[in-house]
Symmetry: C2
Subunit: 302 residues, 2 copies
DNA sequence: ATTTACTATTGTCTTTTAGACAACAGTGCT
DNA sequence: AGCACTGTTGTCTAAAAGACAATAGTAAAT
C-alpha cells in the first residue's frame, strides 16, 4: 500500500466527510479512496470512520489519528518545498547573532555553505557576547551557550560547551602539570577579557563557585591569540571544548585535570551550545532552512 | 512511487551510508533502495547523496531534508502505535486537573469517552482553581485558562475563554438592558465566589481595569446555580462564554454589550482555555493519547 | 601502476498494487 | 414505498516495486 497516499486521502476525507468529494479532489475514482481507507483501517485494525452509505463520521480514534498524522504530512510537504529545486528558493535577510569565538570559527563557515545552497538568502551577522532579544525581533536566530533560556523561544542543542584547562605537551614536560587549583597561582596563565572585565576562573569549594586569584600573563578578548600562546607552550588557559577539540585530537594540546575538581567560568561546568529561535518565525522559509541547516551542520549528535 | 517507503529508505540510508546494509535492514535487494532513492531525488530535482561505488555521503541539502523528514516519520509511526489495536494499549494512571466549572461540564464527559477507547487508563481528576505545578509532577495534564504560562510547559489551545454579561430575555423585557457599567449598581447581579473571595467584575477605565462596586443578590462557588438563577430571569451574571454558549444559541440567554466597553474578571478580556503538559511526559503513551484525544474533543478550531 | 575486493547501478522478469469503470447495495428523505 | 444519492464490490488494466543476475566504477592493497 502507498501509505502516504492513503494518509493524504484520510486527512482530506476527515475534512470533507465525503468519499466522492475527496476522490474528485485527488482525481481518482471514489472506489480508490474507499479501498485505501479500508487498507489503512485494516493495517491499524481500527475503525477510523463510522459510515453508512449516506453519512461519514470520524470516530474518536480517527480524531486522535488525524491530529497526529496531519502535522506529519505537513512536515513532509514542507520538507519537499525546502529541498525541492522546483519551488521558489527561500529569499530575504537572515539576522543571526552568535558568540564571537564560536561564531567566527563555526557559524561563519556554515553560513558560507548555506549561501552556496540558497543563494537568495542575505545575511546580517552580529558576533557579540551580548544577549540579543529574539522576541523583540532584534535577530532571527541566536547561537549561544545557554544557562537560562528566555520564554517563548525554542532551543536546539548543538554541542557541549564547557571550559577545559589546557597546555601544550612541551609546556607540561618543561613545567609539569598543575595538581590542584592552588598550583595555578604561580603559573603563566592566559585569560579572556569580556565586556565586563577579565573572565575569572572559578573553582567549586563545598558547592560554592569562587574566583581564583591569578596573575595573568596575558589577557585578550580575541580567543585565537590565547590559543596561539598556549600552543606555543607559554602557559595555561581555560578554553572552550569546541575551540580546542581539534588540537587535542592532534596531540598539540593536553587536557589537564585538577585533583580538587574542574574549573569553570560560570557557576556551572556542563553547559551546552544552543541555537535559539522564536517559534512563529519558523514558518518563514528562510528561517526554516537556516535552522535546519545549522543544526545539521553544527550539531554533534542526537 | 511509494514515497513513505522511499523516505524510510532515505532516513535509514542517511544513517548507514551504505545501500547494502539498508537493503538488508528492509529485506529487499539493494537495487530497490537504489531505485527508490533515485526516484526521490528525481521528484525533488535535488541530490540527496553524493556517492561513488565505494562511498556514500549525505549532501548538505540531504541533511536539511533528513532533519525535517525523520521527525515526520516518527510522528506517523507513533500515530500508528497509538491507534493501532495490535499494540499494547496504553496503561496507567492519568492525573488531570481542570478548573471546576469547565472540568465538570466538558472534561469529565470527554474522559468518559476516552475511557471507552482505552480502558486500561485510570483517571485521577482534580477539579480546582488552584494552579497545579506540572513540572513538579503533581499532575500530568492541566486544563485551565492561561494568562501567563509557566516555563517548560506546552500549551495547546482548546477554545476561547472570556466572560460575557448575560441575562434571560424575560429579564430584559421586564427590566431593560443596562447601558453602561454604572447602570449595574442597582441591578440584581449573581457573582462567583473563589477561594480568595467574591470575583469582582472589572471595567476598563482609560486602560486600567478597576473593580465595580456591586451589591450581589447571590454569591456562589457553584457556577450552575448562578446560571440557573439567570435563566430564571432573576438578574444578570458575568459567565464564561463556553458555559453559556448553548443557552445563547437556544435563545434562553441574551448577551448584553455595554457602551463603555466589555467587562472582565481579570485584567484582560480575551483569554483562552488551554491544555498544558510537560514535554518529557509526551513520550508516555497514556499522556499522548490523552492529550491528542482531549485536544481533538475539546478544541474548537484549527 | 595494476590488481583486487567491494558496492552501487542497470537490465529484465515477476509480482504486487493502485486505478478505471460498471454494477450493486444501503440509507435517508419525500 | 419509492426515489435519489453515495459508498462498496467485482473485474480488468496499467503502473510500480521487488527479485536476481550481470555490469561498472572505485578505493585500497600489492
Amino acid at each position: 500500500m502507498d501509505k502516504l497516499r492513503a494518509l493524504k486521502y484520510f486527512v482530506n476525507l476527515a475534512n470533507t466527510l465525503n468519499f466522492s468529494t475527496t476522490a474528485e479532489h485527488f482525481g481518482v475514482p471514489s472506489s480508490s479512496v474507499s479501498r485505501r481507507i479500508k487498507d489503512l483501517e485494516a493495517e491499524l485494525s481500527a475503525t477510523l470512520f463510522e459510515r453508512t452509505t449516506r453519512t461519514v463520521q470520524l470516530t474518536d480514534l480517527g480524531k486522535v489519528y488525524l491530529l497526529e498524522v496531519s502535522t506529519a504530512l505537513q512536515s513532509i510537504e514542507m520538507a519537499d518545498e525546502l529541498v525541492g529545486a522546483q519551488s521558489k528558493s527561500p529569499t530575504g535577510m537572515l539576522r543571526i547573532t552568535a558568540m564571537p569565538a564560536y561564531g567566527e570559527r563555526f557559524v561563519l563557515p556554515a553560513l558560507e555553505k548555506l549561501r552556496g545552497l540558497y543563494n537568495n538568502i542575505d545575511f546580517d551577522v552580529n558576533l557579540t557576547d551580548q544577549v540579543i532579544n529574539l522576541a523583540s525581533n532584534d535577530a532571527d536566530i541566536a547561537i549561544r551557550s545557554a544557562s537560562t533560556l528566555p520564554d517563548n523561544v525554542v532551543a536546539r542543542r548543538l554541542c557541549d560547551h564547557q571550559f577545559v584547562l589546557v597546555a601544550s605537551p612541551e609546556y607540561v614536560s618543561n613545567n609539569g602539570a598543575p595538581k590542584t587549583s592552588t598550583d595555578l597561582t604561580d603559573r603563566a596563565v592566559f585569560m579572556y577579557r569580556t565586556q565586563h572585565g577579565t573572565l575569572d576562573w572559578l573553582t567549586s569549594r563545598e558547592g560554592v563557585w569562587q574566583p581564583l586569584k591569578l596573575n595573568p600573563k596575558f589577557v585578550s578578548n580575541y580567543g585565537q591569540s590565547i590559543l596561539d600562546n598556549v600552543l606555543a607552550g607559554r602557559g595555561l588557559a581555560l578554553l572552550p571544548n569546541w575551540g580546542v577539540a581539534q588540537d587535542i585530537k592532534a596531540d598539540r594540546l593536553l587536557v589537564l585535570e585538577l585533583e580538587d575538581g574542574p574549573l569553570s567560568t560560570r557557576g556551572n561546568n556542563s553547559l551546552g551550545m544552543y541555537l535559539l529561535y522564536h517559534p512563529p518565525k519558523f514558518r518563514l522559509q528562510k528561517i526554516r532552512v537556516a535552522v535546519d541547516f545549522l543544526v545539521a551542520e553544527l550539531g554533534d549528535g542526537p
